[in-house]
């Protein structure tokens, strides 16, 4: 895997043109198709400056929460956004198929808080001092 700037450049190029398939934090391929991308951005224009970072959120999240309602996985990554959203996480929702072996990005948006719902599947812990 390249450095973060390299990864950003690569994912920007791919996501801006074609959508993408990326291997997520759990080693499962997750796809965002082009038509879905266009729909996301029409409904949530605030995500447009950050949409190219969705693959990074899936590969290297700060937190992953499984929804109690529908079993979708919510991937969160903070500290990638600028004012007025600087305190927000990029939140990407994935539905898995085929016994959880592959996933699809259902939606994504900016969010500042995490409701105490569902099951936390992964969290980044602060470095030990």
């Amino acid at each position: 895997m390249g450095t973060l700037p390299e990864l950003r450049e690569e994912t920007t190029r791919r996501a801006m043109n074609y959508g993408f398939t990326v291997v997520d934090k759990f080693g499962r391929p997750v796809t965002l198709d082009h038509s879905n991308r266009e729909r996301h951005l029409l409904k949530r224009p605030d995500l447009a400056p950050y949409h190219h970072l969705v693959p990074i959120v899936l590969r290297d999240p700060d937190l992953v929460n499984e929804s109690a309602r529908d079993g979708h996985y919510h991937f969160f990554r903070w500290r990638l956004t600028a004012p007025p959203h600087e305190h927000c996480a990029i939140r990407v929702v994935v539905q898995y198929f085929d016994q959880g072996t592959r996933g699809k990005v259902m939606t994504a948006w900016l969010s500042s808080s995490v409701a105490p719902l569902g099951i936390i599947r992964w969290m980044r812990l602060p470095p030990r001092s």
Binding site: R69, S112, S113
Partner: protein
């Protein structure tokens, strides 16, 4: 639970409580804002999602308490900008008292499925405020 994990969870909970306290405090003028700006409605049949949006263009973030109603607020002022009910049938099963209002708003939105259409705000103020108020309370 590991102490570091517990600390992260405490921080997340504090952020969550603070966010919703700010949303409640910032929206005491919600009725006036709905009547002043008007609202747009959109129903996405494929996703069974009903969206209500104030007719103003401002930056937004989305928050939820139940994974059914998503509250769109300005990321700095926490003023309400819209409401999204994801899974309308699930929502109505959990909140049957909202069915009459939801059906009236759905009838307006179904004029153009998948697109935002203006809701006559005076005639529908009570229905709009039912959902907007619940989202900001």
């Amino acid at each position: 639970m590991d102490e570091a994990a517990a600390e992260v969870m405490r921080h997340l909970d504090e952020e969550y409580q603070a966010t919703w306290a700010r949303i409640a405090a910032a929206n005491e003028d919600l009725r006036e804002r709905v009547l002043s700006h008007g609202m747009l409605l959109c129903y996405e049949p494929d996703e069974d999602t009903l969206s209500l949006r104030l007719n103003i263009a401002e930056p937004a973030m989305a928050e939820t308490r139940d994974d059914l109603i998503w509250t769109y607020v300005h990321p700095q002022t926490f003023k309400l900008l819209g409401v999204e009910i994801t899974g309308l049938q699930d929502f109505l099963a959990a909140h049957p008292e909202g069915r009459p209002s939801a059906e009236r708003l759905l009838a307006i939105a179904m004029q153009a499925p998948g697109e935002f259409v203006p809701a006559p705000v005076v005639e529908n103020a009570a229905d709009l405020l039912l959902f907007a108020g619940a989202a900001a309370a």
